[in-house]
Symmetry: C2
Amino acid sequence: MRPALALLMRRLDTVTVLERQDREILAALPIEIAAFEDNHDIVREGEHRDRCFVVLKGLIGSYKLTGEGARQIPSFYVPGDMPDMQSIHLSRMDVGFRTLMPSRIGFVSHAAIRLACAQSFTLIEAFWRMTLIDASIFREWLTNIGQRNALARLAHVFCELFVRLKAVGLVPDHSFDLPLTQQELGDAIGTSSVHVNRVLQELRKEGLIVFREGRLTIPDWSRLAEVGDFDPAYLHLRETGRTVGTR
Amino acid sequence: MRPALALLMRRLDTVTVLERQDREILAALPIEIAAFEDNHDIVREGEHRDRCFVVLKGLIGSYKLTGEGARQIPSFYVPGDMPDMQSIHLSRMDVGFRTLMPSRIGFVSHAAIRLACAQSFTLIEAFWRMTLIDASIFREWLTNIGQRNALARLAHVFCELFVRLKAVGLVPDHSFDLPLTQQELGDAIGTSSVHVNRVLQELRKEGLIVFREGRLTIPDWSRLAEVGDFDPAYLHLRETGRTVGTR
DNA sequence: CGTAAGGTTGAATTCGATCAAACCAGGTGG
DNA sequence: CCACCTGGTTTGATCGAATTCAACCTTACG
């Protein structure tokens, strides 16, 4: 099967159980692949879309701008994710998406997805479920930003990325590529880049992370999870025991 | 028709277009009604549910607790909303729901909703769309809490409640019942209740709100929307022009 | 009355923002 | 090869927003 669709399927497998015929329908989806450099807008706020995209490689961030020009990154998207699934039912985009590193993207038309959904209730469930998990992640981020201090917030975000990447098999050892700038991290956790810098130093000093040359290593998972007050339940992954962490 | 279902239908009308047969299916939904006093847990974090609920009267807040015991209210739910729609596809609740004032609730079993969805693709769309709008609201709240100061945050939340209540016809003039404590407001916008108190005074001093005896009045909508950097696009209401504001 | 829940106020403190400058590495072009 | 630029990181100093703690007030209510 085309590797792009294999990846999407693998992701769907982490959230639900697919039957053979669902896999066949998915495998037949027409998908158009494109590569983008760093900092490329894939979808802009306010647009009307007629297709969704799947992350195949790299890292995508959603973003919203306030009237003051500040930017919030409400969430990150890793390979296998369909970040703008919502565009199927909400015509106007309330959020934009851009690459946070060089990325490969697959585009699937709304029409094709609708057709697939019409053929299988299980697929509807699977896609719907993915969007509900997104919402769950937003709730967790709200709690993160609203209630925890900057140190815990950053630790929490690192933990989440670790678990999500691991779930799709992209964390062989205890490290993964994460070429985010401190500004981008700040936009995600709602602090200034200067403060991110200081918090990063703190995390490093405590031996909780190694973060350099665009790569994050987590030497001691359980301690980082402790500091970040992290419980992966909100990610609603199947077989959490197997996919999570190191213990 | 039973008023409970009429309200749900009215809400669905604000987000999508229903056909006659969809209305008939909805009207036949078995619904079980109950009244709850203030501060009553309807759903607790971690539970497994076999039914959804519709807010018929009152105000519901979702909430999450951190390891430190802090509480975040990720969003409010007004009459017509189905706050735990997600429970259909995500068995474990990652969030709890409780009344923020005396409320009337209608319960509909998952089985009944699934059956209704099996009969009408439009209904699936409508429900799915509601959950996607929820997610959109979470994104906006993330931006609100992450990027705006406490004054704008609070103004923004007030604006949202105003628009959402107005959309279901619960804001006859420029005021509505909102018997929230300052603690609860603080849990929603991620600040202490003491600071909420000060911000409220500021908003009052500027003549932007009247907030007493559990009722909020917005004398000058456009100025409050300005202060709160509020743009209702993220609510994805149909005919926004008609339903929003005062101009 | 006395109690409880919520609101208000003040003072001290802390967290994080802001501002500004220095630093550093990788690329580019003379 | 060096000078220069650029984007990002680091550091220090200062400022402001919001927290914390504590006291006090008001109202509702048994």
